[in-house]
């Protein structure tokens, strides 16, 4: 057994810093590179791509990235784990195989984890007793299931462990929890058991710290952010894990950013609910038992974490079409920029009303004044405001209403208040609104599939 492993975060979301994984692989020693590509909305986008082309439906950045890192990973024995397989991990794996072949790199073993995509088997699962009602609102699934764009079960770390045991150098999964990507190598390397709740929770906490990339190493840091050095080459977090469950959060020394108790604490608080019950498919971690201590420059040790048994459920994430929306902006300048923008909004709303259009929502925000903090924005002297961007967004089940809204914004340039600009982008076009349906399903009803792609 290894006495420690270094697991590096390479992406916090699909669209994150493209060279971060390259830096992780080339600027210091690591054993694993883990990359999270999936957000709630991502699965529906990927499913649409796959509907158009059955070879698509995964993060296409992955094969591109492999061109840059595969040789280094092979030479330095770095394993790669990512959930960027989306709704088509097999095609993603085949694309990566092709990259390896093109580069003349032999013996790259790629495993996929799937079985998470239940879109085509919802009715079957309902027959078998799955409830799948909305876990936030309690609404029954019947009204919406015909509109589902995607439906995926969140698997945990253990299918990835299975893939590693099969000898995989690269593991590409569908919808796996972000935390599972980081926890899996610890289970695999240290032989942790499925009921080692404290250890699994420690690895899960490490996964939570790594899952948003540089958000744990000084990115989006609301403490003394101006003291953060070298944002240009910010180092993504690395979890140095030990068999006993102690974990050190660090980064490559030559990269920028900062790892201290404050940067790590902020990430620990990110998007959590009840801290005593951080639920994953692998365990229930208690975030109130986390101890943090600075043990060196850019080194924070986390220890003492307690966990509880996993629940009998997987979380399911479904998405469905829920109408259309559009957003348009116009910018008004001094003097009286805010007054002008407010008047333009009234004129626009008056015209939309006369047209008899149907909207579920019309939202106006004044960027530069109250768009972020709403009623908390203090009253301002208009003389001190150089410009205000009027931002109007609409949402409707009726696409033609949304389309017409898009045609009503530009006319304000010549038919409303003065000193207006910023309409070069063209008419706002309707985009599909994708709503989200979270549910639970009994673990016994779904089985992960783990296979080596030849």
């Amino acid at each position: 057994m290894k006495d420690k492993i270094r697991i590096a975060s390479g992406q916090g979301f699909w669209g994150d810093l493209m060279d971060a994984p390259v830096y992780q692989v080339t600027r210091g020693q690591i054993d694993y590179l883990v990359m999270d590509y999936l957000a709630e909305v991502t699965m529906s986008i990927l499913q649409k791509q796959k509907n158009k082309n059955p070879e698509m439906g995964y993060a296409r950045d992955i094969p591109e990235l492999m061109i840059k890192i595969l040789r280094s990973c092979k030479e330095n024995n770095i394993k790669i784990i990512t959930n960027g397989g989306g709704v088509n991990p097999v095609s993603c794996a085949k694309a990566c195989k092709k990259v390896a072949a093109d580069l003349g790199i032999e013996g790259v073993k790629i495993a996929v984890v799937h079985g998470d995509n239940i879109l085509s088997s919802i009715d079957d699962l309902l027959d078998k007793g799955a409830g799948l009602s909305n876990m936030e609102t309690g609404e029954p699934i019947e009204d919406v299931k015909s509109r589902f764009l995607s439906a995926n079960v969140y698997f945990g770390a253990f299918p990835i462990v299975d893939a590693l045991e099969k000898g995989a150098d690269i593991v590409i999964t569908g919808r796996t929890t972000d935390t599972g990507l980081t926890l899996a190598p610890m289970i695999y390397e240290f032989g942790w058991k499925a009921d080692d709740w404290d250890l699994l929770s420690a690895g899960t906490v490490a996964g939570h710290i790594l899952e948003c990339g540089a958000q744990a190493t000084g990115g989006n840091f609301l403490g003394d952010w101006e003291s953060i050095e070298n944002f240009e080459e910010i180092g993504f977090p690395i979890a140095e894990a030990y068999p006993t469950g102690e974990i050190i959060i660090t980064k490559h020394e030559s990269l920028g950013g900062l790892v201290n108790v404050e940067t790590v604490s902020e990430q620990l608080l990110y998007e959590i609910g009840d801290p005593k019950n951080y639920i994953t498919p692998d365990c229930v971690a208690d975030f109130t038992t986390i101890n943090l201590i600075q043990t060196g420059e850019n080194r924070v040790e986390i220890f003492g974490i307690k966990g509880k048994p996993a629940t009998p459920f997987y979380k399911v994430s479904c998405s469905y079409e829920d109408g259309y929306s559009a957003v348009g902006t116009l910018t008004y300048s001094w003097p009286n920029a805010l007054t002008k923008a407010k008047k333009a909004d009234l004129i626009l709303r008056g015209r939309l009303e006369k047209l008899g259009l149907k909207f579920d929502e019309i939202r106006t925000e004044f960027v530069g004044y109250n768009a972020c903090h709403g009623p908390l924005a203090p009253a301002r002297d208009e003389n001190e405001i150089s410009e205000i961007m009027l931002r109007v967004a609409v949402r409707s089940q009726d696409k033609s209403s949304v389309e017409r809204f898009g045609r009503e914004l530009a006319p304000l340039v010549l038919t409303g208040p003065p000193s207006v600009t910023g309409f070069a982008g063209g008419r706002p076009r309707p985009s599909d609104v994708v709503a989200y349906w979270p549910a639970l399903i009994e673990k016994s009803l779904v089985t992960p599939i783990v296979e080596i792609v030849e």
Binding site: L222, G273, A435
Partner: protein, 120 residues
Amino acid sequence: MKKIKLIEFTHARSGDKGDAANVGVIAFTRQGYTIIDKYLTVDRVKQYFDGICLGDVIRYELPNLNALNFILNNTLGGGGTVSTKLDAQGKTLASAILGLEIEIEDKELNLLTLESPEHD
């Protein structure tokens, strides 16, 4: 009694959980935590986010991290993928809460200012 804003002794991070936002507030020091624990009540936070948070507020304590975690229900205009808000995911609510002002006793203020600004 002295007025003090959270930005003077805490930092924060926020994000989305469906239509709810979570706002975590972290005191730079242990003494700072005892102050937010005492003064940053559910009612105070609910009142502060009046007009933004349209649902109830839930508070969780993480004394181990000198932190409180607030869940602001019905806050994001329907949630990340549906919301028409510029800040559909509540990313800037963390900085918003740092403007919250509380009134503390003089001796509490003294304890705050006596401590090193560096984390212990």
